[in-house]
């Protein structure tokens, strides 16, 4: 063999080596990618499957972008591009492409499911723990028998206990669908039943329909065990929902416990103070969004003192401007504050518009965490904590500060307090300001779970009065116990009676209760009350 021939052969070999991978991807990969933008959702689903089958390293990224709506197609020729920021990239080479006319590649729910399954299969062996976990979860959800081999391979390499458990459950689900032996299937049922949660129950329910007769009793007993376990957790879950509703009631009512409970002013504009607090949060978030996007997670912390200040000032203005002329005339106060509430609502509607304003949840207020069989959402959790904090702070102010002492003195005997040198008008204004300010802080919390619209306050005013009257006018502990009782009772009734009837039952209960104890749960005692 001569040297040139040897070289020729080498070149040929080299060419083959280069061509081999090229043949596996270049001829059809771009076509497959471009197929994503063509045809019906079913066609797109086929394209996703075909693309996933190539196993190319770019596929997971491309499918991820498709699922999140970052994939665009050029209108002229349907070429698929990846949008990153304001630029479009070629999805395979990551090189920027200059285009002007693009439209988003549309996906629907069933396609999103297919995409997630495909990504799950592609990333089951990923090095990143979170990616692997979500991959295992999507394989578990889908239970596609074709993933069995891949799953077994992944299981062997897996060390993380949580991912391993998920993968084993996934394998069990697939086993139930396959024609494995009865023993294998029984073991699979046991594996799923051991998860002991609602998802496991759903998986067993789904398997029950197609299971052979010998297997049915095993599955049924598995479902029974899980349901019994869930029933216990359901009670706990209801208690939690009740506590969470109570915290909202408490927050809404606690400011009123001061203005109505301590001062005896029927303040119909109380709900609007809550609303103003929520709008303060909106304004703070808008400023942050435009100027300091990095501070967004702290927006609520910044909004709290501001909301307190704004609403306290509005409250003081209302007290000085209107209410102080009407002390001792409850009907006129009621009408005047009702008028104030309408004015405030319409003012906000004129300034901010009648539509809802978007108040975002900081990242630490999103999602949920599991505590045993309980699923607790973060926003509700923090609101419960916040309500408790506000309650004790207020208690401390009333019992351990000079202002608190003066407030209590004025409440118990206005003329005597005045004779002792307390400036009662000043104390009145401060008390009203404090009550309003606390309502404003409640508004910051409620903006996280409710609409921020001019009507926000109206939804809370009746509940607030209910809590304060039920708990006993003039007693903070009464407000706490009242909120807890009503919240938990409501949430226990709701699953059985429905939300509408539950509310009616609660109202009937309060009416009957007030008949028996007109002063509420914790009545103030003493001569001042009789006067």
């Amino acid at each position: 063999m001569t040297a040139p021939r040897l070289l020729q052969l080498l070149a040929l070999l080299l060419g083959l080596l280069l061509a081999a991978p090229a043949q596996a991807q270049t001829p059809d990969l771009p076509t497959l990618v471009n197929a994503l933008s063509q045809g019906s959702f079913a066609d797109k689903g086929d394209a996703v499957a075909a693309l996933a089958a190539t196993g190319d390293e770019h596929v997971a990224t491309i499918l991820g972008a498709l699922g999140e709506g970052n994939l665009y197609a050029r209108k002229s020729d349907g070429r698929v591009l990846l949008k990153s920021g304001d630029t479009y990239l070629d999805p395979l080479t990551n090189e920027p492409v200059e285009v002007t006319d693009t439209e988003k590649v549309r996906v629907n729910n069933s396609l999103r499911g297919k995409i997630r399954t495909a990504i799950g299969q592609l990333t089951l062996l990923s090095a990143d723990r979170a990616t692997r976990l979500s991959a295992a979860q999507s394989v578990l959800k889908n239970g596609d028998p074709e993933t069995l081999e891949l799953l077994t391979a992944a299981l062997e390499k897996e060390n993380d206990p949580q991912i391993k458990a998920t993968m084993e459950a996934a394998r069990a689900v697939i086993t139930l669908k396959s024609d494995a032996s009865l023993e294998d299937k029984q073991a699979a049922v046991a594996t799923i039943a051991a998860r002991n949660d609602r998802d496991a129950q759903a998986m067993l329910q789904a398997a029950l329909g197609s299971a052979p007769d010998e297997l049915k009793p095993v599955i049924e007993s598995g479902i029974d065990t899980i349901s019994r376990n869930l029933a216990v957790w359901d009670v706990a879950q209801n208690v939690w929902y009740g506590v969470s509703l109570s915290s909202v009631l408490l927050l809404a009512a606690i400011g009123l416990a001061i203005t109505f409970g301590v001062m005896g002013v029927i303040n119909m504009a109380h709900g609007e103070m809550v609303m103003l607090g929520a709008y303060t949060t909106f304004v703070v978030q808008e400023v942050i969004r435009q100027n300091f996007p990095g501070l967004f997670d702290y927006s609520l912390g910044i909004a709290l003192p501001l909301a307190f200040l704004v609403t306290a000032l509005v409250g003081i203005a209302i007290e000085r401007g209107i209410i102080r002329w009407l002390y001792g005339r409850p009907l006129e106060t009621l009408l005047a504050t009702w008028g104030v509430s309408l004015i405030l609502q319409q003012a906000v509607r004129t300034i901010f518009g009648p539509t809802n304003r978007q108040v975002g949840n900081p990242s630490w207020m999103q999602g949920a965490f599991d505590l045993g069989g309980l699923s607790i959402t973060w926003n509700r959790f923090w609101i419960v904590i916040f309500a408790i904090a506000v309650f004790f702070a207020l208690l401390a102010i009333l019992n351990h500060t000079a202002l608190g002492l003066q407030m209590r003195a004025v409440t118990q005997n206005r003329r005597m307090a005045s004779a002792m040198g307390i400036r009662t008008p000043f104390v009145d204004a401060m008390t009203f300001g404090l009550g309003s300010g606390i309502a404003g802080m409640a508004g910051v919390a409620l903006s996280q779970i409710d609409n921020v619209s001019p009507n926000l306050g109206q939804g809370y005013i009746i509940d607030s009065f209910m809590v304060v009257v039920f708990g006993g006018v003039g007693n903070l502990w009464g407000t706490l116990v009242g909120a807890l009782t009503l919240g938990i009772a409501n949430k226990f009734l709701e699953p059985y009676a429905g939300a509408v009837l539950a509310k009616i039952l609660i109202l009937v209960f309060i009416i009957l209760f007030i008949q028996r104890r007109p002063r509420g749960l914790f009545a103030l005692k003493g001569r001042a009350v009789e006067a």
Binding site: N109, V248, R349, N356, Q366, W378, D450, A499
Partner: protein, 438 residues
């Protein structure tokens, strides 16, 4: 000028004089404006939805006047504020018709406000254009329903979810606010699902009060109902403000659209504006119009609307399109009748057609409903809805549901010789429904 031309010119002048004198003879003789009433709440709970429709009518009047008005006269909108107070709707309607002498009224949102003004329009014989999707079971001589009836929104949406493309849903949660529209719609839907072979235990119906904000129990119940091993979907007739906390709770409890999709009949672009829509991507809404629909008519409308309001962020929505269609049909009817007289317009409008904003045609039917295309859209992360399904052709609005046993054989037809809103085709008699009379 030839002889023929001179004759033609004379004829033309003559015709112009005749037309002019005809147009000038009715009640507007002393005046050269035609007034129309706008009866939408600008304050109170419904202001959130209705204010936009008031702006829409003003926008349409403005556009019409730029085109030279109507019958050679200037159009003028009289705006009143019924303040989300149902009895006040009736008072304000009376004021518009008898004091301001308006030729037609565009207004109302909730069914209860519509019911409250019905007697006024009947008594004073005026015309109301009602632009919102509603529960059906009504057809009045003086009202035109340009929003969707249940068969133009709810039924197609359920069909979509039942199809393979929509996820082959087998279990259904019907979640609604507790008032007439959700209750009637759910009654129709339940019967429809039972007819389709869905088992009774696979349907869960639940109602919550207006403005409900603590959805924890309800969402947990949906989650539990959805874990029976069958594909589950929620059909939501939850109205107004309660939607925001509902969707927030769904997102927080980790219910994604792939697991349990929610299809809503009252959530549009406007409602989504108050929400962070990222966790909601994939949930559905069924309407007859979406802002995102890609037709030249719609593009032009959205552009003109943004220019008119001077706000780039203003969205358009389905009831707005219904208002546009109602307005255009009325204009055509007045032009055809040559007068704004109620009886003449009522007669002229039936069978008239006008292009809608989605590339089709809206036709006024004898039952006072119109033909509409149906779209199912998925919520996108930018708060817009992208169409994932649409009906093959326009669906004619059906006043009386085909799926309720008590409505069997009932038709509405306001043309001669029937002229009745509740006509029993079996006994060939009119009446039966308390709210209806010929």
């Amino acid at each position: 000028m030839t002889e023929v031309n001179r004759v033609l010119a004379a004829l033309g002048v003559g015709a112009a004089i005749t037309v002019g004198s005809l147009a000038a003879t009715p009640a507007w003789a002393a005046d050269d404006t035609i007034k129309i009433g706008v009866l939408h709440s600008l304050s109170g709970t419904m202001a959130i939805s209705e204010t936009t429709l008031k702006d829409t009518v003003l926008f349409l009047v403005d556009e019409q006047n730029k085109k030279g008005g109507l019958l050679g006269k200037k159009l003028e909108a009289v705006v009143v504020d019924p303040a989300s107070d149902w009895p006040l709707f009736a008072e304000k309607a009376r004021e518009l018709i008898s004091v301001d002498k308006v030729a037609a009224v565009f207004g109302c949102w909730t069914s209860v406000s519509r019911k409250s003004v019905l007697p006024v329009f009947k008594e004073l014989n005026s015309i109301l254009f009602y632009p919102v999707q509603y529960e059906g079971e009504e057809s009045e001589r003086n009202v035109f329903y340009t929003g969707a009836a249940p068969n133009q929104q709810a039924i197609p949406a359920v069909d979509y979810l039942m199809s393979e493309e929509g996820g082959s849903v087998k279990r259904w949660v019907l979640e609604g606010t507790d008032y007439v529209y959700p209750r009637t719609t759910n009654k129709i839907l339940e019967q429809y699902l039972l007819d389709k072979g869905v088992a009774k235990e696979d349907i869960m119906i639940n109602y919550t009060p207006f403005g409900f904000s603590d959805w924890q129990t309800e969402v947990a119940a949906i989650k539990a109902f959805g874990s029976a091993g069958k594909k589950t979907a929620v059909v939501s007739t939850v109205n107004g403000d309660a939607n925001v906390p509902f969707y927030k709770e769904l997102a927080n409890q980790g219910i994604s659209a792939e697991d349990i999709p929610v299809v809503a009949f009252s959530v549009g672009e406007e409602e989504l504006a108050g929400l962070d829509t990222k966790p909601l991507v994939g949930h559905l809404a069924a309407w007859n119009y979406f802002q995102s629909i890609d037709t030249p008519e719609n593009e032009e409308f959205v552009k003109a609307w943004k220019a008119y309001t001077g706000n780039e962020k203003r969205t358009t929505n389905d009831p707005m399109e219904a208002t546009v269609i109602g307005f255009n049909l009325w204009v055509k009817a007045v032009e055809a009748a040559g007068t704004t007289d109620t009886d003449a317009v009522l007669k002229a409008i039936i069978g008239l057609e006008t292009p809608n904003l989605t590339g089709g045609t809206a036709k006024m039917l004898p039952n006072h409903h119109i033909t509409k295309p149906v779209f199912v859209g998925e919520i996108q992360d930018d708060g817009q809805l992208d169409v994932v399904w649409q009906s093959d052709a326009e669906v004619p609005g059906d006043a009386w549901s085909d799926y309720l046993p008590e409505d069997k054989g009932i038709e509405a037809d306001w043309t001669d010789p029937i002229n009745c809103g509740h006509y029993d085709t079996a006994t060939k008699t009119c009446g039966g429904a308390p709210a209806t009379s010929g």
